[in-house]
Subunit: 161 residues, 2 copies
DNA sequence: GCGAATATCTTGCTCAGCGAGATAATAGGG
DNA sequence: CCCTATTATCTCGCTGAGCAAGATATTCGC
């Protein structure tokens, strides 16, 4: 966000800060969406995870959803309660394992998600169409590398207070 | 609804989802860092904003910090209280306008921030060194475009429940 | 100096998320 | 088939982040 860094340190650092600024902006966009619809940031993240799972044609249980979002079981239950009360999801018992609760998206949630992601996705695809294969490979490689670095928990982080 | 479902629709969509996955992973990384240091997500975001301001050689007041993070004045006061109690920042009265409270980072917070961002930044720079100017321009252009699209509040999103 | 405007702080409240434990369903050994 | 360990979810009680409203302190225009 805000003004850039010392470009003197190289174009690489400038891009690193640009990536961070972009993630911050996406987060703020998401927060605006949440507030506008009377939801909490966690609810939006849950919606994203559920739509992701749906794209991959996989069921998502309450517990697994909570794990993805970093909640404990009580928090996961409360989350699904909220989403259900808002009419965004419905609970269904798992078929083979009836202990599990499968969280299924209501049509309303899909529409809401599309209204949120659609324009952003369309604009992104439009941007990408302007690049050649060589450039696309670079974008893909960079994002993949950063994702793996973040997932690998690169942050050392000493003991807090 | 065209765009947002099928990965077979082209390499563009794959990259869009990759970007989203990357931001999610960065968010989880940040959450792990927060928990490990007894902080909350908002505290980490505040630290980022403060380090950003410092890089830009700009002072950040309590109220302005709260605005950046989307908090009201009470929330901003509580946030600075928390960070101060954790020894991460100190309050200082503004020089020309003594109503304001300038939030200044303690050395400890800088070190903590570096331990969090350092490895990720290093890895990112390393990745970027493998690309030529043509590719760097594509990465820069794509990220800039997405950031602007998100900032422009592309999400329509009607009234929620 | 007086009153309006502005920045922060205080008070009281709501609700997201946690820890601990209860309940329900499955899997395996006898 | 029954009994026990395991696993998935839910219930209860609590902590604390953030909000709304208002108090307090400082600045600016007149």
């Amino acid at each position: 966000m805000s003004t850039s860094s010392d470009p003197a340190q190289g174009p690489e650092l400038e891009i690193v800060h640009l990536l961070r600024a972009t993630t911050v902006e996406l987060g703020l966009h998401s927060a605006r969406f949440a507030q506008r619809n009377g939801m909490h940031p966690t609810d939006v993240r849950a919606l994203i995870a559920l739509m992701d799972a749906r794209r991959a044609r996989q069921e998502l249980s309450a517990g697994r959803l909570g794990a993805v979002l970093g909640l404990n079981s009580a928090g996961a239950t409360a989350l699904v309660d909220r989403l259900e009360r808002a009419g965004l999801v419905r609970r269904a018992r798992g078929r083979q394992d009836r202990r599990t609760v499968v969280v299924e998206l209501e049509e309303r949630a899909m529409a809401l998600g599309r209204s949120f992601f659609g324009p952003l996705i369309d604009r992104s695809v439009e941007l990408l169409r302007g690049y050649d294969a060589h450039q696309m490979a670079a974008i893909r490689g960079f994002l993949t590398g950063v994702r793996e670095a973040a997932a690998g928990d690169g942050g050392a982080a000493g003991r807090g207070a």
